[in-house]
């Protein structure tokens, strides 16, 4: 409590209160026409991976298609101009039954690869450059299995040249009349040299819909946070796995402080909201979204316990029912992402919303949320004012700068209706920003697991560099920070092995690569 209050009181150079960014719907003009389609086996999923695959620093997008083929959309936007995309053919991603997609550089060759989550066999795609990909399951020893895969997280365990992938799986789709209690095993694909070893089952598994490797206690060893859908598990709960190098994963327990929490876990976002060095976690659900913060941070330098308090109600991010459109029924939340959409130095929160599928007790017209953080640490809804309160049935999304103007744009993937994309035109009083690209020698060129810190005045913002979370997809690219009125900042990276770079000055409004 004290730490939060103190830090919020000293926030650096905030702009006028919560300036609302103006988003323009450029779906039609951008030529983006992808649809995530399907019936029961595609009630979840619909992820999007955003990453640059042609070296122009503008992120392309790969959209899961469900019964449609997945699609890769080249970003043809002009810098600081309107958004424009063109569908690329024969890129290698055009598989059907894709539920989600995550980008990362698996083999550390500086060309981004992809993992496609599928209802059926998962597929790793080796990036060939120029936005072309080739199946690499066999070359990389990746057993794609045959499940209903719905979540992914990646990390580089200490001493490994190859990433560890956690893949979350959902219901046994053969259980037609009695699917409840049929959650299938999640998998941990650990490395074996420069290949994947046969996956090990993460038992018990409880129908994961989002996973995130995250260093929740700043021990230097990321743990695996899993958001599980209580609709289908029995005896389940949210999970935090201790994944120690060379050891079998083990669950944190109640005796260690892990509190039993059961929700319709659908998406995870993380950010150090209160600037105490530890990440907060927003977990989406159906009407009971949670914002978790460590219940206690020891002052004696010892590790915190994995005990979290829900501060969603207090912070105003419960987002439990539509705020516009007239419906009062509870709402359904999916992808979520912390980003500073108005560059005021206060991280905001986007939530994709949409009915599961003909659930009459939940809102059918369920607008996406754009919750702007206020200087007191609470959030205020601005989705309608910003122009992103779509009533389509959203699932995945990316909040990312598509046109290199320092303003974070938005693409939302809707179920059984076309995806939508909005350009961020900024606020009435433009603010400053900086984006940071951490780079280190192979392996793990993109420094997954590092922390990027940006200091302005007495405030240090920080972001953990992760692959995973959200709902079935995520952004792989620069780490964006709003700077408010500040025209310069200091930047450093805490590398995955715990060593810290020197603070480096950076002028605002640029993308900075910080190399090790």
């Amino acid at each position: 409590m004290i730490r939060t209050t103190l830090l919020l009181m000293t926030l650096a150079t905030p702009l006028a209160a919560q300036e609302v960014p103006n988003y323009a719907d450029e779906t039609s003009s951008s030529d983006l026409t992808a649809t995530f389609a399907g019936e029961w086996e595609f009630i979840v999923g619909g992820g999007v991976a955003s990453f640059d695959c042609n070296g122009d620093a503008l992120p392309e997008i790969v959209i899961a298609g469900g019964t449609n083929p997945a699609s890769l959309w080249q970003n043809d936007s002009i810098a600081r101009g309107p958004l424009a995309f063109s569908r690329q053919k024969d890129t290698g991603v055009e598989l059907t039954s894709v539920s989600g997609a995550y980008a990362l550089d698996i083999n550390s060759d500086a060309i981004t690869d992809l993992v496609l989550l599928r209802v059926g066999e998962n597929v790793v795609l080796r990036g060939l450059g120029a936005c072309r990909f080739r199946r690499a399951n066999e070359d990389w020893g990746f057993d794609g299995g045959d499940a209903w895969s719905t979540a992914l997280a990646a990390t580089w365990e200490k001493g490994q040249a190859w990433p560890t992938l956690a893949i979350g799986n959902y219901i046994d789709r053969a259980e037609e009349a009695f699917p409840w209690g049929s959650c299938t095993d999640n998998w941990l694909h650990r490395p074996e040299g420069n290949l994947f070893a046969p996956p090990t089952a993460l038992k018990p598994s409880f129908c994961a819909l989002s996973m995130l490797f995250t260093d929740w206690n700043r021990s230097g060893q990321p743990a695996l946070r899993v958001a599980n859908d209580r609709e289908y598990y029995k005896g389940g709960q949210e999970q935090l796995w201790n994944v120690a190098p060379g050891e079998a994963p083990r669950l944190y327990t109640e005796s260690e402080g892990w509190g039993r929490l059961r929700l319709w876990g659908m998406g995870i976002a993380s950010n150090d909201l209160n600037h105490d060095g530890y990440p907060e976690y927003f977990v989406t659900s159906m009407a009971d979204n949670k914002l978790q913060t460590l219940a206690a941070v020891p002052t004696d330098g010892s590790m915190p316990k994995p005990e979290f308090a829900d501060v969603g109600f207090k912070r105003g991010v419960t987002a439990h029912r539509p705020y516009t459109g007239g419906e009062l029924k509870p709402s359904t939340a999916w992808h979520t992402q912390f980003e500073d959409v108005n560059n005021d130095g206060l991280v905001d929160l986007f939530i994709a919303k949409g009915n599961v599928w003909e659930m009459p007790d939940f809102a059918m017209k369920d607008p996406n949320n754009l919750l702007l953080q206020k200087s007191d640490g609470s959030f205020v809804e601005a989705g309608d004012k910003a122009g992103v309160a779509s009533m389509q049935t959203a699932r995945g999304a990316s909040v990312v700068d598509f046109n290199a103007d320092g303003l974070l744009d938005l693409v939302a993937i809707n179920r059984n209706s076309p995806s939508e994309i909005w350009r961020n035109l900024g606020t009435a009083s433009p603010a400053n920003w900086v984006s940071v690209v951490p780079r280190q020698p192979a392996p793990n060129l993109d420094a997954i697991g590092s922390w990027v810190e940006v200091r302005t005045g007495e405030i240090t913002q920080r972001r953990e560099v992760t692959v995973g979370g959200g709902h079935a997809g995520g952004v792989f690219g620069p780490q964006h920070f709003g700077l408010g009125a500040a025209t310069a900042a200091d930047v450093r990276v805490i590398w995955p092995d715990g060593t810290a770079s020197d603070w480096q000055p950076v002028t605002a409004n640029r993308v900075m690569t910080l190399s090790r």
């Binding site: 009695f178 699917p179 609709e231 029995k234 005896g235 009407a287 829900d310 029912r321 599928w357 003909e358």
Partner: protein, 430 residues
């Protein structure tokens, strides 16, 4: 052994050799009730009162579908409030198909608002059962049997629509509600926005099934509210805190066993239904005895929620967590999630008292059983020498869970006994 597996194995034994045997009425009943328990767990509006209502109507549906073809069974028409005579049968019918059609129709109606998985599951079970039942029958017999079963269900569904509680909005929470302002008034205990108003404040207005009115089983007031350490009220709160501070593993196990949280279990009414289903499987009960038990249990439990809610909103008492944090210990944390409605009396106690009353009437005194309801959720089975032992333990579990005072438990059981007597008095098997 897992509950579901047990029910299935015994259902299979009841229908004889597996090869080419059409499901018996007993298997039809077991399959559909297995589905009902899952749907009750996975349908968002299915809070305990709502679940109790559907269990009652489904029990009556199954009973009437069976009783109409069994001269040893007496219809509940004329005995239950506003239930008019069921459609008459015409000729010989296939009992399994009658029961299947009735339950398929009724389950689909009462769980019409369940999600896509539930809808898909109901259709799959209906299709599977139709294929296995219809293939073995003369088409005319099958058509007449199915039509009659659906007619029985339609009659009960139409009856249900007049009880005033067929529509549930906002998951049962009122959009607007004025909280009481007395020191003892109920205070929301959850940070969930919907739960800033109590669940179903108007449930006491529902038409009862067997008891004459929602106020038919009144209770004396709880101990007078006081913050004086010498008061009876304070002593009750201290008991909750002391018990919480000194919980044994066995007490924790009991609290969790009877927790029966909505959306994480088949609800408290469903727990008692599950007990009956296990007895049906274990003792290979025929459909006459099974549907008698299911119908009377459903009626007793549904009436108990009406009576309990009548009393809850009469006294509007705060929960232990509110009082203890206010007066004794600001850091008090109950073991269980505190339900979002007033405290007195305990709903689980009332409905368990009603259940024990009616099941003792159906199965007799000293009827021992094993309860494996939550084995799939990792909670071991528990053994009981009779129904009252289970009911008393269920009631006491709310003290262990830190969500009820002693008076709410004791008086809840008493209220349940009163309510259950009305269901006990129903004339069913001749």
């Amino acid at each position: 052994m897992r509950l579901v597996a047990l029910i299935f194995i015994v259902a299979r034994l009841l229908c004889g050799p597996a090869v080419a045997a059409a499901p018996t009425p007993e298997k039809v009943l077991a399959n559909w009730y297995r589905m009902v328990l899952e749907l009750a767990r996975h349908t968002p509006t299915y809070s305990p009162p709502v679940a109790s209502r559907s269990f009652a109507y489904l029990g009556v549906t199954a009973y009437e579908a069976t009783a109409s073809g069994n001269p040893d069974m007496q219809s509940l028409a004329g005995q239950l409030t506003d239930l008019s005579p069921l459609p008459p049968r015409d000729g010989t019918l296939d009992e399994a198909l009658v029961l299947h059609a009735a339950l398929s129709e009724a389950v689909t109606a009462f769980f019409g608002n369940t999600g896509p998985t539930g809808q898909r599951a109901m259709k799959a079970l209906d299709r599977q059962m139709n294929e296995s039942l219809g293939d073995a029958l003369d088409p005319d017999l099958a058509a007449r049997s199915e039509a009659y079963g659906r007619a029985v269900a339609d009659h009960v569904i139409a009856w249900s629509k007049g009880d005033g509680k067929s529509v549930v909005e906002n998951l049962g929470f009122p959009y607007e509600y004025t909280l009481g302002t007395e020191p003892w008034s109920w205070v929301p205990t959850s940070a969930i926005p919907l739960q800033q108003a109590p669940l179903m404040p108007g449930w006491r207005e529902m038409r009862p099934f067997a008891m004459p009115s929602g106020a038919a089983c009144p209770l004396p007031p709880p101990p007078e509210y006081s913050e004086d350490p010498a008061s009876a009220f304070y002593a009750e709160a201290m008991e909750v805190k002391t018990v919480r501070d000194n919980l044994t593993d066995e007490q924790k196990q009991i609290a969790r066993f009877w927790s029966d949280d909505p959306m994480l279990s088949p609800t408290p009414p469903g727990h008692w239904m599950a007990i009956v289903l296990q007895i049906m499987a274990r003792d290979r009960l025929d459909t006459a005895r099974s549907t008698d038990a299911l119908a009377r249990l459903g009626v007793a439990v549904a009436d108990s929620f009406i009576a309990c809610w009548d009393t809850k909103f009469q006294y509007d008492l705060l929960r232990p967590v509110t009082y203890i944090r206010r007066v004794i210990d600001p850091k008090f944390e109950p073991l269980l999630i505190t339900p979002p409605f007033p405290e007195y009396p305990s709903g689980h106690s009332t409905q368990s008292g009603a259940a024990a009353t009616v099941l003792t009437a159906v199965f007799g005194e000293g009827f021992a059983f094993t309860d494996s309801t939550h084995v799939d959720d990792g909670l071991p089975a528990r053994n009981y020498p009779d129904f009252w032992a289970a009911a008393n333990e269920a009631a006491l579990s709310r003290l262990y869970g830190g969500i009820h005072f002693r008076a709410a438990i004791a008086q809840g059981l008493a209220q349940g006994r009163c309510v259950g007597a009305y269901a006990e008095a129903l004339r069913t098997l001749r």
